[in-house]
């Protein structure tokens, strides 16, 4: 897909044409994951697009098979016991058997031996996957993700101070590379979760936790906060854009630049942006913010969504969002700033120029 395409709705993602092929690989060719076309989706844990998710999906399919077999055995026994005696209902007095030896054998075989064997096998598979998930070679790229009420700040640290990139709610990663993601929280506990690529890891205040992403093909996945974090926990999504390394490098270069220069069509919007209070929270590098940050908007127009993957980044949605942020995402930290309709459109035009 074209990285320059801007207007994508949160619903428009890759629908994962070949499903779960990594899962099959992880399982060593087991034919379990073959038919799961219904599992496809930009936020599905079974639509695997990365190494870690593939390993976990492989574990899931194994666990599923084991569970189905055990369940069938137990239910078959249950039905057999019912069928055996179902005709003999009616009044009957209690029997007091002298020995329970046969019954105890049931308990020993079914209640102790069967689960012990099954659990030992399951545990072995689990520990193998766990070891694989937690053994890491050096990172090709390190990204910092900071959880905030209720959006994601994303930072790429370069060699030089000028190389630093700050963006929000849209994490770009190169395919085939090992990306180390360092997670911190600025306020409460959140959880970073991109089911297509990796299991979740919490962002805990006062700690730095780490997760790894390794996408094996280009595509856009959706992630979402998975630890309840208050009023708008629901609307704390983000996108992960996996793109070939060259495209990624191009994107990163673009992001490193200062925001686009204004021309006569956008100047009025910029002035309004600076004077109406927007710039108090939103940086447009090189202009920094005096206040505590909202999302950095330096290259806002290059992002696909607004309000933490709540709305597609279109002119109409953007205007609606600025006009009434509390109506769309009640309780979020962005206040409604009264702007005359013409001024609102000017601000939108300016923001749309920030490629």
């Amino acid at each position: 897909m074209s990285p320059t395409r801007v207007a994508r709705g949160p619903g428009e993602y890759d629908q994962g044409p070949t499903v779960a092929w990594n899962a099959r690989r992880a399982l060593g060719g087991a034919a379990l994951a073959l038919s799961c076309s219904a599992c496809a989706g930009p936020q599905s844990a079974l639509d695997v697009r990365g190494t870690a998710a593939a390993r976990i999906a492989g574990l899931w399919w194994t666990l599923l098979v084991v569970a189905v077999v055990v369940y069938i055995i137990v239910i078959a026994l249950l039905l057999a016991t019912i069928a055996r005696r179902v005709r003999e209902t009616g009044e009957n007095g209690p029997q007091m058997p002298t020995s329970d030896r046969r019954g105890l054998r049931w308990i020993g075989l079914g209640g102790v031996l069967l689960p012990a064997l099954v659990l030992a096998a399951v545990l072995a598979v689990t520990l193998r996957v766990q070891t694989a998930l937690h053994s890491h070679t050096p990172a090709d790229l390190t990204v910092q993700v900071i959880g905030r009420l209720w959006w994601w700040e994303i930072r790429y640290l370069g060699g030089a101070p000028g190389d630093r990139v700050i963006t929000a709610n849209e994490l770009h990663i190169p395919t085939g590379r090992r990306v180390r993601v360092e997670l911190t929280s600025a306020d409460v506990i959140h959880s970073f979760w991109v089911p297509n690529l990796q299991g979740k890891v919490d962002l805990v205040p006062g700690r730095t936790t780490v997760t790894w992403l390794h996408a094996d093909r280009p595509g856009i996945s959706r992630g979402q906060c998975a630890e309840y974090c208050g009023l708008q926990h629901t609307r704390m999504g983000f996108l992960v854009v996996a793109e070939p390394p060259a495209e990624f490098a191009r994107w990163l270069d673009e992001q490193r630049r200062p925001s686009a220069a204004v021309d006569e069509t956008t100047r009025r919007g910029q002035v309004l942006f600076q004077s109406s209070g927007c710039a108090y929270c939103h940086a447009t590098r090189p202009v920094a913010t005096p206040g505590v940050g909202g999302p950095d908007l330096t290259h806002f127009a290059s992002r696909r969504t607004i309000a933490a993957a709540t709305l597609p980044n279109t002119r109409g949605h953007l205007a609606g969002w600025i006009a009434d942020p509390q109506g769309i995402k009640p309780g979020n930290r962005m206040p409604r700033i009264p702007l005359a309709p013409a001024d609102l459109l000017a601000v939108v035009t300016y923001l749309e120029s920030l490629r």
């Binding site: 709705g9 949160p10 619903g11 219904a38 599992c39 989706g41 936020q43 599905s44 844990a45 079974l46 998710a53 390993r55 976990i56 899931w60 569970a67 055990v70 369940y71 137990v74 249950l78 057999a80 005696r85 179902v86 003999e88 209902t89 009957n92 029997q95 058997p97 329970d100 046969r102 105890l104 049931w106 308990i107 079914g110 209640g111 069967l114 689960p115 659990l119 399951v122 689990t126 520990l127 996957v129 766990q130 306020d187 409460v188 506990i189 089911p195 979740k200 890891v201 919490d202 805990v204 205040p205 780490v210 959706r222 979402q224 309840y228 208050g230 009023l231 926990h233 629901t234 009640p330």
Partner: protein
Amino acid sequence: MATISAPGERDQRVRAFERVWSEPRGFIGALRTINNIPIAQRYMVTAFAFFLAGGVQALLMRIQLGTPENTFLDAETYNQLFTMHGTTMMFLFVIPFIEALANYMLPLLLGTRDLPFPRLTALSYWTYLFGGIFLYSSFLFGAAPDGGWFAYVPLNGKEFSPGINMDFWDIGLSVAEVSALGAAAELIVGILRMRAPGMTLRRLPLFAWAMLVAAFMLILAFTPLIVATAMLEFDRKGLTQFFTVGHGGDPVLWQHIFWAFGHPEVYIMLIPAVGIVSHIVQTFCRRPIVGYRAMVASLIAIGAISFALWAHHMFATGMSVGAMTFFTVASMLIAIPSGVQVFGWLATIWSGRPVWTTSMLFVVGFIAIFVLGGLTGVMVAAAPFDAQAHDTYFVVAHFHYVLIGGVVFPFIAGLYYWLPKITGRLMSERLGKWNFWVMFLFFNLTFFPMHVSGLMGMPRRVYTYPAGLGWETANLVSTVGALGFAAGVLLFVINFFWSRARGRPAGNNPWGADTLEWSESSPPAEAQFPYIPVVRGRHPLWEQPSLRPADAPAADSLRELDAAPTGWRGGLCVSMREARPLAIVHLPGPTIWPFMLSVAFVFLCAAALVDSGLLAGIGAAVAAVALCGWFWPARTEAAAIGEVGTEPRDRRLPIAVAGPRSNGWWGTMLLILVLVTALTTLVASYFYLAPRWVLSELPDLTETLLAITTTAVALASAGAVRWSAGGNTPALVGRRQLGLALGVMLGLVLVGMLRMLYGYHETTYARATDAQGSFFFLFLLFQAIVTLLHLVPTAVALVWAWRAPSDPRGLAPAANAALIGYFLVFSWGVAVATLYLAPRWFWPSE
């Protein structure tokens, strides 16, 4: 007491016996009644009402989630609903309902007239009722709790939840927790001490075993929760900094304590349900359960293992691989004793002759659902898979399979089984079968699709979701299923009212069951078991032609209790293992004080909520009056002592007043268990946080010496009280008086020294600015409570020793104060070592 021969005299005596056990009438009488049956009925009705309230909340949430981007509920309301749904179902429905059923059924099952502390039962009920109303009153103020039933910090700290919503949760819940502890103590002492003679532990019905395990778990799990909610509330009030990053606190500490409670909690709910199932299977398969001992052992194993797997709720917080492996193994291990239970039932059905009543249908449905929930439980125990499944609808599906399938289905089965005993009328079997199939099918329709939506990436606790992620169908099906499931619950309610109006009379034993409750009338009389039954096997009604004593000596020892005593309420205490008659216990009659004490709690709660000194003063005053009234010497007890005597003589049972023979002593031991658990929680929390602390000021030498001296004073006080116990004979009254007087004086000195320690760093401890200071605050508060628990009974014993040295009732507070004295010394030692000595060890000053 003379043997009674004339039938007229005998009738008269039975009537007198019935009169002494009858409930008081009228409105005030309803507040004074403490009989287990009316209290348990209120408990059950209240719990069921909360179940319906929690169900309505669930339906509203399901309607909201039926379609993507629905606007039926706003975010705030939705968050309040899921918080209250979880809180209600856990704390206001399941636990109280279990306690209700146990309070009703256990005395009947065990063949005793009442549980050992009837006033405590009444107190637990009123406290639970008022705590629940307190929590729900938050809706009236538009301030319902909205931080999740697990109340993670920092989200629920003052900074991010400045409203009083979570104060309602914290305070209301503490009250419900205290009530649960009271009920647990009641059940443990009841099961261990008040059974029919001959009902040895090996003959104990499985429901009683299950309740015994669950009640111990309640104490070990709810105590840390009380400590944690207190810490959270102190943090919210700005007094302490336990969970604040940057002040030496850590939000993950909350998760550790909360789940150390939260996971055993699941099994606290499950184990009694499993016990109910065993009774039903046994009765309707017309044979004893297969592998009784294996069933008991696996109940205990489940209870023990459940304390070792809390952190599987925290796999996502970034644990070490080693820790994850440990908790994965422990979580999987619990499947084995659960498997023993399931195969025990299967073997019983296989070798029995099952009768397919509604109860049995619910049991079969339970097995089918519970096994599936157990299998998904093994899945989420695997840490790597949990990384995807955690906090998604997959987990929602998993625990509803376990909690509705594993707990609610057995409850309904148990109600179909036991309601005929409670109401005296049979339920409709035809309606019951409809009831089962509707609930079973719609249950699966509701919760099975959630496995799918969870795997497809749908997180929990979201008030809506965007279209296009593949979640629409699963959610719509779940919503339809939930409405159908609600209809199933409604069918049960209809059946209940139908049976009350039209049901056939049940008779004593409609199912031909084996346990003692079926020997009593349905519904049971206010005065249960006028003649104490004697048990000679696990299945008395199947194995014994008569429940009367088999031989003359046994009959003699129980004669004292044949439709007697008639002037006061008396019950039988037996030895713990062999259930040999030990003593007669005096049980209190109707009293208003439990009700008044719970009213005092309401004032104290409201005071804590709005920081009002006036309300706190009223509450404290009412509580003081109520406690005095509660412990005021009962005239009936004096009469009982006069009638029976406190020492055994010529094969006649004595009355138990003090010491290990009395229930009060056992209750005190359980109180000490609660205190030990709380102290352990404090110490564990301290050392969990300690490595995070940069060296703050060490307690200086004078302060440390003062603290050590305090321990010595505690030792002296406890020793004096213990020494006084040697003076129980009339000749040594002087020693008793002296010992107790010394105990009181030293106790007062201790209070003064405590005040000095607290004041030593008044500026920092009174409003602690870091986590280390917060622990001084909390430990010293805890020590103050323990010191008072020692001092007050000592003072009461001293008054007895002074005013009525010959009255044996005065020995009880002295004996209990001596017991608490041991703990007092221990806890002072631990507190001093932790607060004053450990810092010198770990952080030697530079």
